[in-house]
């Protein structure tokens, strides 16, 4: 019963609400949206080139670090080998 009474009371008002004609936003709104999107696109492009450069720099850094490590490893391995050879030849001399 209560629902019916509220239905009766509200329906004419809702009917009025349904007659509201949609309003047009000002033409400036579309202009601003497109401007902002164009700026956004530019920013995105700038950011992507910036990140590409950063990624390239990091890659070069990592590669040069890797080369350094390999070189150092090579040097220490050579020194170890030399020491071992000297030890071996000394041992051989001692036995002879």
């Amino acid at each position: 019963m209560k629902i019916n009474s509220s239905k009766e009371a509200m329906d004419p008002l809702f009917d009025l609400l349904q007659q509201l004609a949609p309003q047009e936003p000002s033409p400036e709104v579309k202009k601003l949206i497109l401007q902002k999107v164009a700026i956004r696109k530019k920013e995105l492009q700038q950011v992507s080139t910036k990140w590409l450069l950063v990624a390239a720099a990091v890659l070069i850094g990592l590669l040069s670090l890797n080369i350094l490590v390999v070189k150092q490893h090579q040097k220490s391995y050579q020194a170890q080998l030399l020491n071992q050879m000297i030890d071996n030849s000394q041992n051989q001399l001692y036995h002879e």
């Binding site: 008002l13 509201l20 309003q23 949206i33 164009a38």
Partner: protein
């Protein structure tokens, strides 16, 4: 998405977004700001749109969320204004958002509509959203349920509660006038 394609999306949906925001916020400047924000979000997230719902539903949902965020930030501004004693950025906000084909009819029902729009504005957000989507945007219950990501039954019950609350609010305002 290419520029002409995006422009077409703006052309198709800007009126819809603007009118929903206008109904929600009842202020033209805020509605225009929300319209801009929504389309920037659409541009940013269009690649994430999976096509599970219609583009229209997706944009409606974004608009409702943007309006809720705007209301929250406005509340925060009011809170700051009250406690820090700063000036309100705009106090000329409550112009009523309607325009009708029959001016004579508007005059006759202007007062009733004004009161109804103000009463709708006082409803809890889910009820307000249901009323605006069903009665101002003319969506059906299924579309409203999709926008709000709730069931059709929930839409029905929210609408019934909204009706009762609106009646209470309108009766109260009448009593206060008397």
């Amino acid at each position: 998405v290419s520029h002409p394609e995006f422009e077409q999306i703006v052309d198709t949906y800007q009126k819809m977004v603007y009118n929903l925001a206008l109904g929600y916020l009842q202020n033209k400047e805020d509605a225009e700001e929300i319209t801009q924000d929504v389309f920037i979000k659409v541009f940013d997230n269009l690649h994430q749109f999976k096509g599970q719902s219609q583009l229209k539903t997706w944009i409606y949902r974004m608009t409702v969320n943007a309006c809720l965020d705007q209301i929250k930030s406005k509340r925060f501004k009011l809170f700051k204004m009250f406690f820090l004693n700063t000036k309100s950025p705009d106090e000329t906000t409550w112009d009523i958002a309607y325009h009708q084909q029959h001016p004579q009819e508007i005059l006759e029902h202007k007062e009733g509509l004004n009161r109804l729009l103000k009463a709708i504005h006082q409803l809890p957000h889910p009820q307000k959203t249901v009323v605006l989507l069903l009665k101002v945007e003319h969506l059906n219950q299924r579309e409203t349920a999709e926008v709000m990501e709730i069931s059709i039954k929930a839409v029905e019950s929210l609408f019934q509660r909204a009706k009762k609350n609106l009646e209470k609010i309108l009766n109260l305002s009448k009593e206060n006038e008397n």
